[in-house]
């Protein structure tokens, strides 16, 4: 942080608290108006829309054995059929929402746990700090996907378990980011004033410190969401997510790749949806990072200042 400090203007919304009630909304709308942000948001929204509305507009049942295996696209089956002869379009339309829900839940879980750990480590210092950061080191020693696989291997592929595993594997990075941001905030006068007024430390953390962490947290949440989607889809692809006969984009790619020569669309369409979704969330996050950090700074660059890890460990 120290190296960059001069070139990074302090996030505007931290100061003028009276200017807008929800300064983070202003950051999001500013980001959405940049070319990058607009493209990212449009892509991500489109895919999310497909996933949410999909089940309602699906032409048939995703599970019905409608025809023979790997039929090429036709009027009746616009995307052809899959390895069991099910309608690919219906499966695509039904196969996204659960993936998205799990990714969102894992992100939320990771952000909450990580923020709680990071803020209390930085605010309480001393032994609590040491303990929390050593725990972070230990969890970081597991590649994220491996961490999830380890838990799944013990308890079996249960969806809540996967959400918790992926969320927990995010927590260390989130804790690092919030810890370093909190260390800066605790030095400010308003925190000192609150302490002198005898405010309880838990209240200081929630009322005084947390609102000032919103901008690093927004960028972090965006990154984590992208990685969650990647890991969730990856686990499904490996066969450890939703179990057959569930329709799931990751699972569909694995199930139908034996028929690539016959009906490539059963693989291409779910793969493209996942790709466009992650490109969308990542591009929008990049735009938000540019707005909040004020300069052309990369998330990866922050690694050097121990703010952020690469985190992309699937």
């Amino acid at each position: 942080m120290a190296v960059e400090a001069s070139s990074v203007p302090a996030p505007a919304q931290a100061k003028d608290q009276g200017a807008a009630r929800h300064p983070w909304l202003r950051v999001l709308s500013t980001a959405a108006r940049t070319p990058r942000g607009a493209v990212g948001l449009a892509l991500a929204s489109l895919i999310v829309l497909v996933a949410i509305i999909g089940p309602f507009v699906s032409p048939g049942s995703p599970d019905a054995l409608a025809t023979v295996t790997f039929v090429k696209p036709s009027g009746q089956f616009p995307l052809g059929s899959d390895f069991l002869g099910r309608d690919v379009l219906s499966r695509v339309l039904n196969g996204g929402w659960e993936l998205l829900l799990m990714a969102a839940a894992a992100t939320a879980f990771g952000i909450i746990v990580g923020t709680a750990a990071g803020v209390s480590a930085a605010y309480r210092r001393g032994r609590a700090d040491g303990f929390i950061m050593r725990t972070v080191d230990v969890i970081l020693a597991f590649p994220q996907l491996v961490f999830a696989l380890l838990l799944v291997s013990i308890l079996g592929p249960r969806l809540w378990l996967i959400v918790i595993a992926v969320g927990l594997s995010h927590a260390p990075q989130v804790a690092r980011v919030t810890r370093s941001a909190t260390l800066d905030v605790t030095e400010r006068d308003f925190v000192k004033v609150a302490e002198l007024q005898g405010m309880r430390s838990s209240k200081v953390m929630i009322r005084e410190i947390l609102p000032n962490l919103i901008s690093p947290l927004m960028v972090e949440a965006g990154l984590r969401l992208t990685y969650s989607i990647v890991i969730m889809a990856g686990l499904s692809f490996l066969g450890f997510g939703q179990q057959p006969p569930a329709a799931n984009w990751g699972l569909m790619i694995n199930e139908n790749r034996i028929g690539l020569q016959l009906n490539p669309w059963a693989v291409i369409v779910p793969a493209a949806l996942i790709a466009l979704l992650t490109i969308g969330t990542n591009t929008f996050t990049d735009a938000v990072a540019r707005v909040t950090l004020g300069v052309d700074r990369l998330p990866e660059e922050a690694v050097l200042t121990d703010d952020l890890g690469l985190g992309r460990t699937t």
Partner: protein, 335 residues
């Protein structure tokens, strides 16, 4: 940190220990402790939590007699601390035990996989680093040119792609639907290593290179731009040093220093990234071995592979920190 400070003490008696030596000693000690805790977690998680390994192998309707026999074979009837000690000392003395799935000795099962994955990871790391550094340097030198814009936007898009999407795209383009230039699966005959059939390595390595290059590229570009705008480059220009010499002798080495850390982080990423890519291509490495072991609930194999991956992670982390420390004079003083 009190524990990790200890190794530095004997040196202090002889005089001022070199600050870097102290730092390295601390990192190594901390890494060792982390690994010990990781091993305990892996062990506890897989061995003790729900039911036990014997149940996992024999299933729910297990015959009690066989269950007891297997429990004894796996030492499950002893205390947890004893079990952990048996396992850990076994690992350290090279007695890794046997796979539960087929009764083969674990080392014979894992050794070729380890070698194959190592080939995959280091080949990818080397090729990816060279491409990333070169592209990043060129983009920085031609900042705001069309080359810079195209590479920057492309890498931003690619950074977020899951490995298996990249892998499937390559398979569609090069191995199945569009053309048949390369094999779609990297099945190796048993008993052979990855280097015996370089053709089979192209797609797995290519996939992982595509996944890691954007990160290295973006870091290199940013660092190179910063270096080119720095005072010492300005100074060299004023002294009339030729431009190519400025780039090669002044800007490049200073830009590579921070990039090394990102390269290290990409090696860390590869520890997890091999899992999906090896699975896609049926490449017989430890990633695929882990997936198979999880499918079969082959607990000794899971324990060992997870521990190997974690050890790789911790060691690479330390290496990266040390190299970055040595490469950046500023940081040597700062800490």
């Amino acid at each position: 940190m009190a524990v990790t400070a200890a190794p530095a003490k004997p040196q202090a008696a002889r005089g001022e220990p070199h600050p870097i030596a102290t730092l390295v000693a601390r990192r190594v000690a901390a890494g060792f402790i982390t690994l010990l805790v990781v091993s305990a977690i892996v062990f506890l998680a897989t061995q003790v939590l729900p039911g036990n390994a014997a149940y996992a192998v024999l299933g729910r309707g297990a015959n009690p007699v066989r269950l007891h026999a297997l429990e004894r074979q796996l030492h499950l009837n002893r205390s947890i601390a004893e079990q952990y000690w048996t396992w850990l000392s076994g690992l350290l003395s090279g007695k890794l035990g046997t796979s539960l799935a087929n009764g083969q000795p674990l080392w014979a099962l894992v050794e070729p996989r380890l070698v194959n994955s190592a080939v995959l990871v280091f080949l990818t790391g080397a090729i990816g680093s060279i491409i990333g550094v070169a592209l990043g340097a060129v983009a920085a030198l031609r900042k705001d040119s069309w080359f810079d814009h195209i590479t920057s936007v492309t890498t931003l898009a690619v950074t977020s792609l899951p490995e298996f999407v990249v892998a499937i795209t390559l398979i569609i383009l090069l191995a199945t639907v569009v053309s048949h230039l390369l094999p779609a699966v990297s099945l190796l005959p048993p008993g052979t290593y990855a280097w015996s059939q370089p053709r089979l390595l192209i797609l797995p390595v290519g996939t992982l290179v595509i996944v890691i290059v954007p990160y290295i590229f973006r870091m290199m570009r940013a660092a190179m731009i910063e270096a080119l705008e720095s005072d010492y480059v300005e100074m060299a220009r004023l002294k009339g040093v030729p431009e190519w010499q400025i780039v090669l002798a002044h800007a490049l080495p200073n830009a590579i220093a921070p990039t090394i850390q990102v390269i290290g982080l990409n090696f860390l990423y590869l520890a997890g990234g091999v899992v999906v890519v090896e699975f896609v291509f049926n490449f017989p490495g430890i990633g695929q071995g882990l997936v198979f072991a999880v499918q079969n609930r082959d607990i000794p194999v899971i324990q060992f592979i997870v521990l190997v991956l974690a050890a790789f992670y911790v060691v690479m982390n330390i290496l990266t920190d040390v190299i970055a420390l040595l490469a950046t004079p500023r940081r040597r003083i700062a800490r």
